[in-house]
Symmetry: C2
Subunit: 321 residues, 2 copies
């Protein structure tokens, strides 16, 4: 079975752990969001790709959900002694080696997809991990800022998300460079050849939304023979984790499982899983022609997540007929 997953960071990575456990023999291609990539201290950091790679490769900090287990911070401490900026993003020593290897390869002219494959040779994630694009796309957020001349300013997503903890009101989300981005080699082929396409409980705006916004990707998903099934990242009107409500509000979408499904729409989704607490509110999803089921969606363990993945695959099988 060929499964394609459009994944962001923590939510996508944890879902993939469950999916891999549910269908050990499956051929899984992960199309990873690179819109939150950022250059820090001259090093290219790809938080979402790395979270997927570390999680599936056994190197992730398990409680935190991002970064490396047993991490050290000697280099960070030294960078602080030099007054190096920014100080709102911490790179651990183990994690740093990944960015050093990546940056060296990128500077040598290798595309990000080749670099990612090289890094995965170490981690053996058991999936094919593709960046959505080899071209640089960086998500920026227009935030309210009373001190700015225009009353707002545009900052990198990481500065908004990590630096400012998503506190300022987000007015607009812009994926800078996306108009000219091409899908990375293998992305469109994987979508076309898929037996199932899954949207895991990743951020619908700055993760799955950014991947879909790469010219050609949304069209490929819509044209794919495979059924497309999504899992709601919103449970009971709140993001399972993270601050997805902030960026949903910025694009005028309510923070509900139903609103997110309708935002994707029937043109993309064949099936949609909501949590059991949202079962009664899902009627508009069905009314839109999207098959909708309610199952427990808390990824509290790999086993619980595997059950979610199985439910998604069963739903895909149903909508296919």
């Amino acid at each position: 079975m060929r499964i394609v997953v459009l994944a962001g960071g923590i939510g996508g990575a944890r879902f993939l752990l469950g999916l891999r456990a549910a269908v050990p023999g499956a051929d899984i291609t992960v199309i990873g969001n690179t819109g939150d990539d950022v250059t820090l201290f001259g090093l290219r950091v790809c938080p979402d790709l790395d979270t997927v790679m570390y999680t599936l490769g056994g190197g992730i900090h398990p409680q935190q959900g991002w970064g490396r287990a047993d991490e050290r911070f000697t280099v960070r401490d030294e960078l602080l002694e030099y007054g190096a900026k920014p100080q709102w993003f911490t790179l651990g020593d183990r994690d740093l080696a990944t960015h050093i290897v990546r940056t060296q390869m990128l500077h040598a002219g290798q595309p990000l997809s080749v670099v990612t494959a090289a890094l995965c040779e170490r981690w053996q994630p058991g999936v094919q991990l593709l960046p959505m694009s080899d071209d640089t796309v960086e998500t920026h957020v227009l935030i309210e800022d009373p001190d700015a001349v225009a009353g707002s300013k545009l900052i990198h997503f990481q500065q908004y998300w990590v630096g400012l903890q998503a506190r300022p009101t987000a007015l607009e989300i812009r994926a800078v460079g996306i108009e000219n981005a091409k899908p990375a080699p293998g992305v469109l082929d994987a979508i076309a050849a898929a037996d199932v396409i899954l949207f895991p409980p990743s951020n619908p705006v700055v993760s799955v939304g950014t991947i879909l916004a790469v010219p050609g990707v949304k069209e490929a998903v819509m044209a794919a023979a495979a059924p497309v099934v999504g899992l709601s990242p919103i449970i009971g009107g709140r993001p399972v984790r993270g601050m997805a409500d902030k960026v949903l509000t910025a694009i005028g979408v309510e923070t509900t499982a139903t609103a997110v499904a309708l935002h994707y729409g029937r043109e993309l989704l064949d099936g949609w899983l909501v949590d059991v607490v949202d079962a009664e509110d899902a009627e508009p999803v069905r009314a839109a022609g999207i098959r909708c089921l309610a199952v427990p969606l808390m990824m509290s363990s790999v086993a619980a997540t595997a059950e979610m993945a199985e439910a998604a695959l069963r739903l895909a099988d149903e909508v296919k007929r």
Copy 2:
């Protein structure tokens, strides 16, 4: 008193500790060798500048003489896991932060002299540390290699020195890029304004020799009003430390205190200090018109090194008259 010192790594740095102790109020400008600079893992490493900066700034590993005290190697271990090359050069975590800051500034378009000054803001070495040039000069070594088609091959100095521990026979030393290198801002002015110019017991070929080979530097030293005094890095026919004999042999100079003095020559040197064990062999130096004294030259402590520096300054005072 304005003192200019042409310094390599460990020998130069340890001498400077003694010089600073001997004349606490002096205005010391260090012109540092950058010929052994190397790009490793995409990061620009300046071993000699850093050794001077760390030594005078109190961050050096005291026994080792290079690298940081209380160093950690988490990033190195991770780079090995990725199979990153080269594996013969180890960068510690603390040291790495210096290279990250430097590389970021260089990529942003700052010249090495500005970068070095910025790094020194943290370390406060108590001297003005100038790279010999803002232009890239890299010392390469032509080594005997029976496996190579020509019977020899050209490798970076660090690969020869650190990677191969200077074991292969060195046939030739080439400072790649030096023809087009310009002295860094401040270098020629410092030499012209100096009251004393010192050659510390640094490597006469790949440290002091490379600095002097930057077009304009040797000429400026020869034209300077200040007396020029050197301290022999060779004691009893052997380098005080390191493998200077290997590169001296490559340029056809014997590994003796006298041969090194005659290699610099009367055109550069007004005075020369040899160790007491070499006192009786120094007649050819005097015959060449270079004032020569024998004093203990083992830098066994800062106090002993300060006495060497005082002897050098006294000799400079004598030859001035």
